[in-house]
Assembly symmetry: C2
Homo-oligomer: 334 residues x 2
DNA sequence: CTGAAAGCGCTTACAG
DNA sequence: CTGAAAGCGCTTACAG
């Protein structure tokens, strides 16, 4: 594939690469290049369909104009939504985004981190498995901007943007209580993530004082989430007699709803539910499912902002960046 | 950020960059470099945590080792799944993937195409809006490998991998007929895509001979898919008295199911449904939803294969590549 | 207002 | 078995 280069244009117009480069980078006026010269260069570049070789430019400028985005999985619509936002925002700022998915595997995550570093990305946005602090630290210390989002390492001094999971869980419980529920259950995952623990703490704390029963808190194995969740729901309703259930994440809610529908219970009359995290089908279902919605655009925007601040970092400006974003209730019919 | 370069290693071991480069690229034996020398270089590189600057390598080799993936939207789980597969496969082959989403906007698509080309990607995988043949042609003719997937331009001579939509629609109808349905309706989108038209043709053809009524074929505006789909379902059931409905895509099925559930009909007893394209919730719903599943891994695998064949293209090997992949019925309870 | 030249960090054909 | 040197296609400090 023979592409037209700066050099070819320079020859065509009988000027130096320097001049051509300046003009084509919009620095013509800055360098006081003759307007006619500029017009000529521009027109020739257009005629020849010149597209600069970004690789060469990147090598020269030391910036690749690409960001890396690492998420557990892209088909999780929560991360999918964030990915879309980030892609849009990056593009607007002139950055491409490289995508990587870990499937919660720290080894895969480590590989991705190293590869992206080698690819000279200008920054990394990562929803980590939370089992790679070492590598992330190393990369960050080496001067490559990193922002943790959704998942962070509380013990580390790295920029992050996360949801207020504790508050979120409380909001869910509060909503159920206010709608008259007296005996609330919870179905959560056995994942070793701060986000998850915060949700469980939030639930336990909010439930305080009310018919509090540790059997109302069901933790299911994330490997067998579907069957275990169905079992948990059954127990909560049959044995614990709950009249409300909080699901720790959207897909647990999905599993739970299916189970409830099969059971002989008045739903959402006798058993009402609320999900931590929204899902596209929640507003399609009848009854529509009440959920705590996580502000994905805010997460994306803050993450990008934080990353850009680091990328454009003036030395001395060492911002201890972090942002805790507030989720909001979307009360629907359950 | 000061990184260690080939040069630093060369100085450290008192050898030339050439030798170091060869060894680090695993070509040591090929060039008969002394094994001890090799061992030394390797160990020093490791100690210094050398990571080659891919940008520099790319400029030198003329290959960026990155692929571009362009899809309408990543939160559509169908494309999400394909994206995940492609990402995995690419990584295995040593390619990173750059992501772009068009949201069905040809202008956005064109921008992405040009940017990726400038970024020197080694190949482009695209589920096109089907309104950019010119640009794709130009890029492909310039020698940049392109594979169209899911959406193709039938009039153009470009490599593609698509689903057999015509056959798929027929399978859906056949299934409904075989399960005793006599009066089948269809809800589709007003999109100007070959895939869509093939589905509608497939339906019409399969329904031939049976109580065929053009009012059984409802085309809804994709801008107001939700409300229009609900309306269509209502008409099909109330006015047309259908006992089975084929939905042209997973989200139409989602909308339709919600509507059916609200209506006073025996579902799936009196009205059974089947969806073109699977969705994660279909197996969670009770009853579980019958769907035609599109072989995403196959699509991903074939697309990558086709792209790689072009990338490694020996001149003279000008393969008219294309693959039509077969969808399969996943019969569940509806 | 414009250009010659060095440099970004690699790879590789050629030479010995 | 190893190295000097050119080259990939840009940018930019410096000079005039």
């Amino acid at each position: 594939m023979k592409r037209v280069s700066l050099d070819m244009i320079a020859k065509e117009v009988n000027l130096s690469k320097t001049t051509v480069s300046m003009v084509l980078n919009g620095k013509g006026d800055l360098h006081k290049i003759n307007p006619d010269t500029q017009a000529l260069i521009l027109s020739v570049a257009k005629r020849l369909k010149f597209r600069p070789n970004m690789i060469a430019r990147n090598l020269s400028t030391g910036s690749s104009k690409t960001l890396a985005l690492i998420v557990p999985r892209i088909i999780d619509t929560y991360y999918g939504l964030i990915a879309e936002s980030i892609e849009q925002l990056s593009l607007k700022l002139g950055y491409q985004v490289l995508l990587g998915t870990t499937h919660e595997d720290p080894v895969k995550e480590k590989e991705l981190l190293l590869t992206f570093e080698a690819q000279q990305v200008d920054g990394i946005l990562i929803a980590s498995t939370q089992h790679n602090l070492e590598d992330i630290k190393t990369i960050s210390d080496a001067g490559l901007p990193v922002v943790l989002f959704d998942r962070h390492y509380p013990e580390a001094d790295l920029p992050y943007v996360v949801v207020d999971n504790y508050l979120g869980a409380q909001k869910l419980v509060k909503h159920l209580i206010e709608s008259g529920r007296k005996n609330i259950g919870y179905v959560g995952l056995n994942l070793d993530l701060t986000a998850i623990k915060d949700r469980q703490r939030g639930f336990e704390n909010a439930i305080e004082g009310r018919a509090k029963d540790s059997n109302n808190l069901k933790i299911v194995d994330h490997q067998h989430a579907k069957s275990d969740c169905r079992k948990a729901v059954e127990e909560l309703i049959l044995n614990q007699g709950v009249d409300g259930i909080v699901f720790e994440t959207h897909y647990l809610a999905l599993y739970g709803i299916a189970k409830i529908r099969e059971m002989e219970v008045d739903y959402p009359g006798a058993v009402s539910i609320a999900s931590f995290g929204d899902h596209e089908v929640f507003s399609i279902f009848r009854p529509e499912v009440t959920a705590l919605v996580l502000p994905v655009e805010q997460i994306a925007q803050n993450s990008i902002d934080m990353l850009m601040r680091q990328i454009e970092n003036k030395p001395g400006d060492d911002p201890h960046l972090n942002k805790i974003v507030e989720p909001s209730m979307k009360v629907r019919n359950t």
